[in-house]
């Protein structure tokens, strides 16, 4: 089965719809996994939550991200001020039902050899970034799973850990199938759907064939200008729109 992995949607409806369309049409995706941060930053939290909720109703996986948690519980002290401001705005723009869905998402889901978690698996509730091979090795060593799929960093990345402890990092090339070989353990970060930060504004996602363990990273160009306009029209910080157009 082909499983599309989407993370850090951040209430960007334009990006989400472009990715869902690409995954279904070109990728042949049959199921979806949403790795957290459905909301925050973007201007369409309601419609984005609705789409994820509809997918979950037909078997998709969804886990909680730090923005989802902040939206349901209030922004933590440590959160950046623009993010915190959006959290308050987002809470106001979601229905009670939508908030309940976000609040009820699990911190991680384990399925056989695979673990889905928003940030480092070391302690999912601490939202630790996986930014280096050392972080990746820690995340992998903290669990039994052979493969971890996570988000939070907004930059696509692929890490492998060998039995002898050596760890490698790789910057995925879009469109290239990569076999997640059995002798290694793997940590996959598909990159952000709704707010890419690697200098390329195109939305990120990855497609996993769960039978052959072959993964393909994808980039999907979408109407970022429109998403940015909506952010400005909603009275949210203009920088958040600008960074969508720049991808950074």
């Amino acid at each position: 089965m082909r499983l599309a992995l989407l993370t850090d949607l951040h209430a960007n409806l334009e990006a989400l719809e472009a990715v869902l369309e690409h995954a279904r049409r070109q990728g042949g995706a049959e199921q979806f996994a949403f790795l957290g941060d459905l909301v925050g930053y973007g201007a369409d939290p309601g419609p984005v939550v609705d789409r994820v909720q509809a997918a979950v109703a037909t078997g998709a996986l969804a886990i909680k991200g730090n923005h989802d948690e902040a939206t349901t519980r209030g922004a933590p002290q440590a959160m950046r001020s623009d993010a915190a401001r959006v959290v308050t705005w987002t809470t106001e723009h979601l229905s009670r039902e939508q908030l309940a869905f976000l609040g009820g998402l699990p911190l991680s889901i384990e399925q056989g050899k695979r673990l889905f978690v928003h940030a480092s698996a070391v302690d999912p509730a601490q939202w630790i970034y996986v930014l280096s091979s050392v972080d990746a090795a820690r995340s992998l060593r903290a669990v039994r799973a052979r493969q971890i799929f996570s988000g939070h960093t907004h930059t696509p990345g692929l890490y492998h850990l060998a039995a002898n402890g050596s760890v490698g990092v790789f910057k995925p090339v879009p469109g290239t199938p990569i076999k997640l070989t059995a002798f290694h353990r793997w940590l996959v970060i598909p990159g952000s759907v709704g707010q890419p930060r690697d200098g390329n504004p195109a939305a990120c996602y990855a497609l996993l064939d769960d039978g052959t363990d072959v993964i393909v990273f994808h980039r999907v160009p979408y109407d970022a200008e429109r998403a940015a306009r909506k952010i400005r029209a909603a009275g949210l910080p203009g920088d958040l729109g600008a960074r969508l157009e720049l991808g950074g």
Partner: protein, 482 residues
């Protein structure tokens, strides 16, 4: 795991028929299955407490082989996971590897050139698929009945677009001692020119019957090739022509920047011996003096090649073979100079590019072939002189230029064949000229655009400068054909 395998065993529907090779890292079996001709199964040799080279190398091969294509690699059929019995099933290539021919070395120049050209073609095909072999040696080269070289064993290879599982894994250089490049000794694994070095080492062995760098078994022994040049092939085999020594020693330059920049460029040299510019490399009959070696040694201290290419694709893209097809008599001065400008433009972006200036000497299908007589020879020389005269203002050094006067009744198909055989990346050709002959022949450029397996730039003089009705048929300023 592999220890228990015996002929007759069945793995996922493949019956093991015969053990055809037992290596230090893997076993090769001839296997049969109901729906395939004979196949080969490779199983890794896994020993308890062993270093994981065999296993990781096997995984690398499992990642790379399924996405390779073309006649220069064995066709991938299937693979099995480490959870049960790990294996790779691939096409069976009958016959023996190039290693068998080492017993007959030194081989004659004709055979060395032919084998070298076939390996260069195979390497170029691999490099174009983003893969560096990194363990090219005679035992990893097979041949199809049709003559094409087939490269096998991708256990040390690196794919630009896949994670390099071997990079972090090992602290020792990976490869086979006699053929490993200096940069591999320094554990640099992302330079396709490493395979050019190995090709040079293979050719050296075929020509001299001896290994260019012996068979060192220590790191310091391996490091010697960073500064010590091999005994020149001609000192070991006087029948080795100077041009072949030039090619081999150029492949074996310690600094990858001094080598041929792509396998296609080696191919071009091997196919055109008369055009290989002979340098000091071709002339020398003994190894470099101690002073030169000492100077080179100083440079290697703490050395890693700073400009090692980030990707195979980039290296190939920066080192194209460009063909400029000229019909000097049938073209106006304005067109010829515009073709030169266009060629310069292509070249200014690619410091590693090679230019082949080509013209076609048209022979008649019916008349007696007059090119063999005195007049024909003179005409050919004249064409060559014209080509050189045209290229002179480009100011390219000899090593980047070759000239070719081709012959045939149909210029377009002669050009396209040349492009295909030499794995050319880009053709620059003038739009249809004004001569009556051209009018009679139809547009050569249009056919070259349509039939060449690469990018073709058609150069056309703006209408205002060259008022002529012939150009109307030529609509493409620049067209891509593939």
């Amino acid at each position: 795991m592999t220890a228990g395998l015996e002929p007759g065993a069945v793995i996922d529907g493949y019956t093991l028929e015969e053990r055809i090779h037992q290596g230090s890292m893997a076993t090769l079996w001839r296997v049969s299955s109901s729906d395939h001709p004979p196949l080969v199964m490779k199983t890794p040799l896994l020993r308890e407490g062993d270093d994981p080279t065999a296993m990781v190398g096997f995984e690398v091969e499992q990642m790379i082989m399924p996405i390779l294509q073309g006649p220069h690699v064995p066709l991938f059929i299937a693979s099995g996971d480490f959870s049960a019995q790990p294996y790779i099933v691939m096409e069976y290539i009958p016959g023996e590897s190039l290693r068998g021919r080492l017993e007959r070395t030194p081989l004659d120049t004709e055979e060395v050139t032919r084998v070298g050209a076939q390996i260069a073609i195979a390497l170029h095909s691999l490099h174009r698929q983003h893969v560096i072999h990194l363990d090219l040696k005679p035992s990893n080269v097979m041949f199809r009945d049709t003559g094409e070289a087939v490269l096998i064993d991708f256990g040390f290879s690196r794919h630009d677009r896949l994670p390099d599982l071997l990079a972090e894994q090992f602290r020792l250089p990976m490869g086979t001692a006699p053929y490993i490049s200096p940069e591999q000794v320094l554990r640099i694994r992302n330079d396709p020119r490493s395979d050019i070095f190995a090709l040079g080492a293979v050719l050296y062995h075929l020509v001299t019957g001896e290994r260019a760098f012996g068979f060192p078994n220590s790191i310091s022994g391996l490091r010697k090739r960073l500064y010590r040049d091999p005994v020149p092939p001609r000192a070991r085999n006087p029948s080795c022509p100077a041009w072949l020594q030039e090619i081999i020693l150029r492949c074996l330059e310690p600094d990858p920047r001094e080598r041929y920049q792509s396998a296609a460029q080696v191919l071009l040299a091997l196919r055109n011996p008369g055009q290989v510019p002979l340098t000091e490399r071709a002339r020398k009959l003994r190894q470099d003096g101690m002073l030169t070696v000492a100077r080179r040694w100083m440079r290697t201290l703490g050395a890693a090649h700073a400009d090692s290419w980030q990707s195979t694709a980039l290296q190939i893209a920066r080192s194209p073979v460009v063909v400029v097809a000229l019909d000097i008599l049938g073209s106006t001065e304005a067109l010829l100079s515009l073709i030169r400008e266009t060629t310069e433009r292509v070249f200014s972006m690619h410091p590693g590019a090679r230019l082949a200036c080509v013209t076609v000497f048209r022979t008649s299908r019916l008349a007696v072939d007059y090119t063999v007589d005195e007049e024909g020879r003179n005409l050919r020389v004249l064409r060559l002189v014209e080509l050189k005269d045209w290229a002179r203002p480009l100011g390219l050094e000899d090593s980047r230029l070759t000239y070719h006067v081709l012959e045939g009744p149909d210029p377009a198909s002669v050009l396209v064949d040349f492009v295909r055989e030499n794995h050319v990346d880009h053709v620059v050709i003038g739009a249809r000229g004004a001569s009556p002959l051209r009018r009679y022949l139809g547009s050569v450029s249009a056919r070259v655009v349509a039939e060449s397996p690469c990018t073709v730039t058609v150069v056309k003089v703006p209408q205002a400068e060259e008022e002529d009705e012939e150009d109307e048929e030529e609509e493409n300023e620049e067209a891509e054909a593939s």
